[in-house]
Symmetry: C2
Subunit: 338 residues, 2 copies
């Protein structure tokens, strides 16, 4: 494996010059640069990560991470992904600060401002899709603080990348699964998180588009639980009381625990229940037989991947010239695969 030293010798220049050329740093004679590049190519030069990493000990990068509050346990797993990757990258001079805030624009704006005051070099965020948040983020981006959106995107944010689910597809997959796991007339109740949240409404669209035209499926009612377990309990209780014909439920987002409690209290374990993610309460409910299947979206990967992208970008902004989309794999789980 070729090293900078070898290239320098062959080219008859110093190692510093080779470094400048290879990393597009300022002011190297064009002729010299060409020669160096040619030799690097010839020797199939690949930078040695250990060397780079060790030298990078001097730069300290701080990344601000803003996700939802503890109320939504799904983010516990995303955060594990952040922390694992951060642990790995500590040795490369990277530190993170994680803020979990309620899902509203004031809380997010406060968190973003706090990050900026701490001098972060980049922000990874699950953005609340509100004009005030979007414009603040775009202001920061314009000012040179890169932003990556994770788990949920906001179209109008000029983020470097989005790492998360393809929600439309996951909605379709949920419907397909419901189709495969049932026969006869199906009366479906849908529980949305928050119709203002882009990703939840996309799941809803995917779900209904997939069932559209299958006669045996009827969507009876659609309700929002705002990702809240108590609210979810209420909604599902009244849904099932008002519509005892419901024999299938689709939870597009969080609040699964509260909803399942209602199912259990009404003794309706006959209902086909499809959910998303495998937070611990969902796992328990699956083992009890209350949830038929759940579709997961690699939460740890989402955390790890977005942080890695940010780190790589900070070291070489060339890699993300255009916004890129990194979609999680969709993994179906049933109680036997937990």
């Amino acid at each position: 494996m070729a090293t900078i030293k070898q290239i320098a010798e062959k080219a008859g220049v110093s190692r510093g010059t080779v470094d400048r050329v290879l990393n597009n740093r300022s002011g190297v004679n064009e002729e010299t640069a060409r020669k160096v590049l040619e030799i690097a190519k010839l020797l199939n030069y690949k930078p040695n990560k250990a060397g780079k990493a060790l030298a990078a000990q001097k730069n300290k990068f701080l990344i601000g991470i803003i996700v939802f509050s503890r109320k939504n346990p799904y983010f516990d797993d995303v955060i594990k992904g952040f922390e694992e990757k951060a642990e790995e990258l500590t040795f490369y001079g990277l530190e993170i600060m994680i803020k979990r805030v309620p899902y509203n624009h004031e809380a997010q704006i406060d968190a973003i401002n706090a990050c900026v005051e701490s001098g972060v070099n980049g922000i990874i965020i699950t953005p609340y899709n509100d004009e005030s948040v979007i414009s603040l983020l775009n202001k920061l981006i314009a000012g040179g603080i890169p932003v990556i959106t994770v788990n949920s995107d906001a179209e109008k944010v000029n983020s470097l990348a989005y790492v998360g689910s393809d929600y439309y597809k996951s909605g379709r997959a949920s419907a397909a699964l419901m189709d495969m796991m049932s026969t006869g007339s199906m009366n479906v109740g849908i529980i949305l998180g928050d119709s203002n949240i882009l990703c939840h409404s996309q799941r809803y669209l995917g779900f209904t588009s997939r069932l559209n035209g299958i006669n045996r499926f009827n969507i009876i009612t659609v309700n929002e639980n705002f990702d809240d377990d108590l609210k979810s309990f209420e909604i599902v209780s009244s849904m099932l009381r008002e519509h005892p014909e419901i024999n299938a439920l689709y939870f597009t987002a969080a609040g699964v625990y509260g909803g399942c409690k209602a199912i259990k209290e009404l003794d309706r374990s006959d209902i086909l229940v499809i959910t998303h993610d495998d937070v611990s309460t969902t796992v328990d409910m699956m083992k009890e037989g209350l949830i038929t299947a759940t579709i997961c979206q690699q939460p740890r990967w989402q955390g790890a991947k977005s942080l890695e992208l940010m780190y790589n970008y900070l070291n070489d902004p060339e890699i993300l010239k255009f916004k890129k989309y990194f979609y999680a794999e969709l993994n179906i789980k049933i109680s036997e695969t937990l």
Copy 2:
């Protein structure tokens, strides 16, 4: 973050001595060692990976990897995992040599011997469960060449670790899925890979144990395809001709493509088909609607994880004093989640 240099200063010794203590190298005065360890603990010392990695450039490790021949495309993905991790670890002085051989004892023994002649420092293998292979591996292990089993284990091999599926569990999960995705009387045909292969028979056991006692399920016939697509085509063709009442098939291993061809030719797309893994032909068959669902076992992870373990072991044999089992996640896929 504390460094060796800082510890050395506090302890009033040289960096070399600190290194010796921290890495359990030979001959350091007990008193000195105690002092160094105490200070290291006090400062919460964690070795810097970049520094370690750079210094490790001088040791070159060579790992031999032996998996199945190209006839079984599943291993293409395992190999991607090996190659990704190897690319990462190249910078830490690690190289791999991959051998894909037919699944019999002579081929494996030849491959193992070739690895030894090349001077490998460790072997990662999907072992053929034969006495001759087992004893050869155990001889190497006794002679100081560590072995890790991947994807399929052989109980009597004294390997450091096994990385792969819990086959019994995946068999059970397949049966559970079949149960969920069907109603009424089900007549099941089972296609085994090779009953001499431990993992295939374990899947079979898991599958039948899960269906055991469910009256609507009847296992009509069980056959081996030896992971061969042509053989698989023949078997499934005659199965379906002889037992037209079969309305569900379970493929425990490879040969899915050949089997599905038979289903297609006989125009039996009504059959519920459960398979394992998502090799490209399986993906195609799913999109055509011939396969209902497939249960995956993270092939890339298996490759990456086993190689990482081997690398870590070579750097610090303490981490694997007892054989450890690393099981892959089971992920169910349907055509909508591909």
